[in-house]
Symmetry: C2
Subunit: 206 residues, 2 copies
């Protein structure tokens, strides 16, 4: 494989990511991706066969930012559970800040096409039942709470971390009066706020 081939493939993926993340699978146009990559549309098919296949690559890449990595953090055995939760939050926020549009992309596409999720896990060889084990045998057991309480805890954490980015257009407009600087300031404070909230919720059993 020549460098050119590698470069072209990467250039296509970069352009595809841009367009798919911004417009979604249905709103994206192969021609727009080609334009963004500065090449002929036929090349996209030459390298990736179809729009769906190309999209799948982009979606896969996006999911890989969170899976299985984030699950592993909670599963690692040495560290005490409180530290694990903190590491989870810090890592999660870091990933989202580095890829601020990925969460809404993933969530938007999954709401339109939930089967993609199963497909991704199967093809990536990720065993989702491990999460059940972690909820029960790690989080619930080590914190002395029920499985259901552990579920609420995890959902709370994810919600608090992700939502500002997923709901950004709404929040920026109504809470921040379209002031982007104040929104960025808000985001930079976010980690401390969430850690604070979750820490006390753990000390009081969810």
């Amino acid at each position: 494989m020549t460098d050119d081939k590698v470069d072209t493939e990467k250039a296509i993926l970069n352009a595809a990511r841009q367009v798919f993340v911004r417009k979604g699978l249905d709103g994206a146009r192969m021609q727009e991706i080609a334009d963004e990559a500065g090449m002929n549309k036929a090349l996209l098919h030459y390298y990736f066969r179809s729009k769906e296949k190309l999209f799948k690559m982009v979606f896969r890449e996006a999911m890989s930012k969170f899976f299985p990595g984030m699950v592993v953090i909670l599963g690692s055995s040495e560290i005490p559970i409180e530290k694990k939760v903190e590491a989870f939050i810090e890592n999660y926020i870091k990933i989202i800040q580095e890829n601020p549009f990925i969460p809404s992309f993933i969530i938007g596409e999954l709401n339109k096409n939930p089967e993609q999720l199963t497909e991704f896990f199967v093809e990536s060889g990720i065993d989702t039942s491990k999460v059940a084990f972690i909820l029960k045998e790690v989080i619930a057991k080590e914190l002395g709470i029920t499985i259901q309480q552990a579920r609420h805890l995890v959902v709370n954490i994810i919600a608090l971390c992700v939502f500002p980015f997923v709901g950004r257009p709404l929040l920026e407009k109504i809470i921040f009066q379209s002031n982007q600087d104040e929104f960025d300031q808000f985001i930079s404070e976010r980690k401390a706020v969430i850690l604070n909230l979750i820490r006390t919720s753990i000390n009081r059993s969810v």
Copy 2:
């Protein structure tokens, strides 16, 4: 306007809501909406002129479930702030449970087309600067916290309420192992969990 005309218009809107909420503006097809409504495609144009206009009606209706109603709750002056927050949470969850797919619809469309939001507020005569006033003069002042802390509080509340529905495909698969009953059970417990979490966060100044 005859009853038939009213009925046809409503039938179209119902079908359009179904399809638009499920597939989004880009993924929806006028033919599919016509099929869902059991009528000829030309009728959609006869009543609503274009796909965009029809979509706008559906989007408007969806937004109206939350605005300006939810803002008003926080602004009402008689009740003490703690009660206001609780009323906000309870009302919010109620609306979402009655319209479980609306949040992801709104958020998904706004992420692809943020200008729709400004358009909606302008056309609905909703003054978004009222939120700034409420954050500063109601929430921050009555709770004795900064405006920024008030923002975090509001975002926390919305995040905790909305996210389980917006992220449902993900959560149902990984946290609930595709078990819908357990997810529903989880949702029914949600209000108490959120109230609990937010109450203590208020007592400790965000």
